[in-house]
Amino acid sequence: MAEVSLKGVKKSFGRVEIIKGVDIHINDGEFVVFVGPSGCGKSTLLRMIAGLEDITEGTLEIGGRVVNQLQPKQRGVAMVFQNYAIFPHMTVRENIAFGLTIAGASRQEKQQKVAEAARILQMEHLLDRRPSQLSGGQRQRVAIGRAITRKPAVFLFDEPLSNLDAALRMDMRMEIGRLRRQLGTTMIYVTHDQVEAMTLADRIVVLKDGQVMQIGAPMELYHEPANRFVAGFLGAPSMNFLNVDVLDLDGEAAMIGNQSLEPIRVATRRRAFRKDGKAILGIRPQHLRAVQSGQGLLHGVVAHAERLGSETVVDLTLRDDRELIAAFNEDKVFEPGDALELTFDTALAHLFPDELQTH
């Protein structure tokens, strides 16, 4: 087990800077998830930690030791890849024992550790099969088995569930959660799936264009996003963003409104706004409530509604022709063309400056 610390880490491919100075400290035994849209550099960052990519600038420490120049095998990491990366010419047993074979472990030690990994991952019956005889989920379990036999200081997962179907993904997600509790090893997990991030992580690192947007516990990021990007990235359906005018400012709150929104006061949360300037109001679809005519803050017309049983997602067109998504946690019938008035708890709304902010 070990701490992982990235200080001012940068990565360039030729002239293109992919990672633009990243500082992250991961505690011993912590489960940290890197999320972000494709191309944000999350996989590159993980590969740099694994030693598969050089670090252009900055330092990487694992267990208090600078490992920038060390080979992957000297870093004490194990990695699980998106495409499983198990060796097709070896049996499951040989695959799981690969790292031990390379390290020159005795036959007895290999047998014992393979048996242990197989027990943890419940695949004792698969040991003599070849990868081609396994399903996707089983292959990924083999890859995880190979990773745990060496007892690495840090586990790295690079989108391990992306190639699995939805049902299997949920099973494996739970299995990884269980494994984590069982092993207690530091784990770094890359995904673009926010459900995986929210359910597995102790802390989430949100990345965009090679920069850290925010680091924090899942609920902290959900309820207190540092900027519009994080607010829009986490949560499904995505947070609504409305362009509003700042009508007045008083210390910790701003009076805002526009032609679709009645004037209201929203906390500024220490962000800087200008009176008579522009701002962006963020409201999660789940925080909107339908109210009777005359009581609403927002006025719109139903364009489309999806009934999912447990909730109803409504796509509305506001007076200024902008789109708004509302999610009600009950089964309700809406017809296109229905006029709808909505309200929300202003304490749950977020006000962002008009330009996209980083921190």
Binding site: A50, G51, L52, P72, V77, Y84, A85, I102
Partner: protein
């Protein structure tokens, strides 16, 4: 022309007819050679004006084979060729795959330039370098069990070593290696394998098709060697089959015996090809490289 389902059977028939005709064109010389090897010269020449040339009819015997063995050390020539070819194929697979491994997986300065140069050597015909190479090998030193020698002429090594590394084989391996999933290589690195272990534990066991292709191509080139052994080997004891064939012609124009000699030296090629045929075709299909 639009596809007409009614014509499907007809189209299939025409396609097979054309394929059969092409196959016949390729197989005729072989059939002629094998049949003629069993016939005495008089009958062989008389048959050439009719279809009998392709049929095992008339005075059939193994006399030509006995004659060929009496006239020249055919067995020795075949043995020389098998030795030289076998050694070259094995060394070539090892050396070229190692070179290709470096080109495909390791990062070093000048790698791409050097690979381009290696591939560019494919366009140089051997005839243009034969004489400079002859001058070179005639002066090269060699440390054997009996001490230091100068000059490699009239040896096995002069027929083997210059042919071990070649652009085509390296190129075949590089292309194949680049097609292997990169994550397998990365996974083995993370699991602690050094590059040598990656080579022999992961990459080589997955390289069956390209090993077969490279082996067959190299085998054909080496077994058919003529110009190079002709100029570097003067002694009968190191002479390979193709040079032996020229020698055989000079001794004699008994066509039946020539055909028997040709049939004998074709056999190892056919055996080798039949053994690796499946892998060969699979490899050509998967690498997209024509053999």
């Amino acid at each position: 022309m639009a596809f007409n389902p009614d014509n499907h059977g007809l189209r299939l028939f025409v396609r097979y007819l054309v394929l059969c005709l092409i196959a016949l064109i390729f197989i005729f010389p072989l059939v002629f050679m094998i049949n003629s090897s069993f016939k005495p010269d008089s009958q062989l020449l008389a048959d050439t004006s009719s279809l009998r040339a392709f049929l095992p009819v008339g005075d059939i015997s193994l006399n030509n084979y006995f004659g060929a063995f009496r006239r020249a050390p055919v067995g020795l020539f075949v043995l020389n060729s098998v030795l030289v070819t076998g050694a070259t194929v094995l060394l070539s697979l090892l050396i070229c795959s190692l070179a290709a491994f470096s080109f495909a997986f390791l990062r070093w300065k000048g790698r791409d330039v050097l690979l381009s140069i290696v591939i560019a050597t494919l366009i140089i015909p051997f005839e243009t370098i034969a004489i400079p190479l002859l001058l070179l090998v005639s002066k090269l030193p060699w440390i054997g069990l009996d001490g230091l020698h100068w000059g490699w002429l009239n040896t096995y090594r002069v027929q083997i070593i210059p042919w071990v590394a070649d652009g085509l084989t390296i190129f075949l391996f590089v292309q194949y290696f680049k097609g292997l999933p990169g994550e397998l290589i990365e996974a083995s690195r993370v699991e602690g394998a050094n590059w040598w272990q990656v080579y022999y534990r992961v990459v080589m066991p997955l390289s069956g098709p390209v090993l077969a292709t490279a082996a067959i191509l190299k085998f054909l080139v080496m077994y058919n060697q003529y110009l190079w052994p002709l100029i570097v080997v003067q002694q009968e004891s190191y002479r390979p089959v193709m040079v032996g064939l020229g020698y055989f012609f000079q001794l004699n124009v008994a066509w039946g015996e020539v055909m028997a000699y040709l049939t004998l030296i074709t056999v190892p090629v056919l055996i080798f090809y039949l053994l690796l045929q499946r892998a060969f075709i699979a490899s050509i299909a998967s690498t997209g490289v024509k053999g």
